[in-house]
């Protein structure tokens, strides 16, 4: 069972269909094809980064108590640019761990699937799915937190050549309200 331990942060999907996951996305082309970066959407993230994590200690509990810790991230392309895979070293004060993300572009629908692989869990979680509009990419799925259905959103922001940001938010009300519970601020390593 994924999610059996207190340290497992993103849990396997329960019963969400791909169609439901995509239902809240803007229709393809809604803002014009030029706004979408398509298969190049994650190019900015390729490389090695220092990471500053901020993580909400309690989720969906009106908490404003955050823990901060550091980490490292290395992102490498695969699939001739139609995907990438990364390797995280997370210095979580509850116990350091490793995790990887796998990101794969589907040319048929222009959407990315982002999979999270926690070395402490098993298997590969069902992906969040979405696309970039300009410098911001948003990716969604339906999951469960503490037995409650939640909508999950990942946001990636390209903040120029040496900075980037990722955030995870949960919505308990099908996307009407969101609580961000984890932020990673990326600073590029080895540029000078």
């Amino acid at each position: 069972m994924i999610g059996a331990g207190p340290g497992i942060d993103r849990r396997s999907l329960l019963g969400a269909s791909a169609a439901a996951s995509l239902a809240l996305l803007a229709p393809v082309g809604a803002t014009g094809a030029t706004a979408r970066s398509g298969s190049r959407g994650f190019d900015f993230l390729i490389g090695r980064w220092r990471v500053k994590h901020r993580k909400l200690r309690m989720r969906l509990a009106d908490s404003s108590d955050w823990s901060e810790f550091s980490g490292k991230l290395e992102v490498r392309p695969i699939l001739s640019g139609l995907g990438n895979v990364d390797d995280n070293v997370v210095d979580d004060p509850h116990g350091p761990y490793r995790a990887s993300s796998l990101r794969v572009f589907d040319a048929k629908d222009g959407l990315w699937s982002v999979y999270w692989i926690d070395a402490r869990a098993e298997g590969i979680d069902k992906p969040v799915v979405g696309a970039f509009e300009g410098r911001t990419g948003r990716f969604y799925n339906d999951d469960e937190w503490d037995g409650r259905p939640v909508r999950v959103r990942f946001t990636y922001e390209n903040l120029g050549p040496v900075r980037a940001r990722w955030a995870q938010a949960f919505s308990p009300d099908s996307g009407r309200s969101w609580e961000t519970n984890w932020i990673m601020e990326f600073s590029r390593m080895g540029q000078n």
């Binding site: 490498r76 695969i78 699939l79 001739s80 139609l82 995907g83 895979v85 390797d87 490793r98 995790a99 990887s100 796998l102 794969v104 572009f105 589907d106 040319a107 699937s113 999979y115 692989i117 070395a119 402490r120 869990a121 098993e122 298997g123 590969i124």
Partner: protein
């Protein structure tokens, strides 16, 4: 290399030339194979509890990119393996297994033309400069394995 567990796929780290031999039709009595070349680059993830290999396949039916993601179960030490074809990039069902006496055997379930099949990957002939991967299918539960794809790898870097 251990019997499985951490770093079981460290042997693959590096750059390889692949010679592919692929059965033209699966589970239909076909004995007609096609051969083509490819390249492969692999590296470890998760401190040796994972790895990825990234392929370019000069398939005569049309060249394409593909990749494999592998991860170890943190408790059992068994590995799970997903193949990702960039043309149909959903993750298919994984195979699971381990190495014993230098040979890795990984089993799973999939579908072929709507029929349930058992899937087996075997890794063998692992030396500093070589490795072989092969895939076999059997109609589900029958144990009548038909090998349908072989990749013979030759290292092209100095690792």
């Amino acid at each position: 290399m251990g019997p499985g567990g951490l770093h079981a796929f460290a042997f693959q780290t590096g750059v390889w030339r692949a010679r592919h031999r692929k059965l033209k039709q699966r589970l239909s009595g076909c004995t007609d194979w096609m051969a083509f070349d490819g390249t492969c680059r692999a590296w470890e993830l998760l401190g040796g509890a994972g790895n990825v290999d990234d392929h370019w396949l000069d398939d005569p039916a049309g060249p394409y990119a593909a990749a494999t993601v592998r991860r170890m179960h943190p408790d059992t030490g068994l590995w799970s393996i997903w193949w990702i074809d960039s043309r149909f990039p959903d993750l298919g069902p994984p195979v699971h297994g381990a190495f014993a006496a230098g040979v890795g055997t990984f089993l799973g379930n999939d579908e072929l033309d709507g029929r349930p099949v058992d899937v087996r990957y075997i890794w063998s002939n692992i030396t500093a400069s070589t490795a072989r991967w092969e895939q076999a299918f059997s109609p589900a539960g029958r144990g009548s394995w038909e090998t349908n794809w072989i990749m013979d790898f030759t290292r092209t870097d100095d690792a």
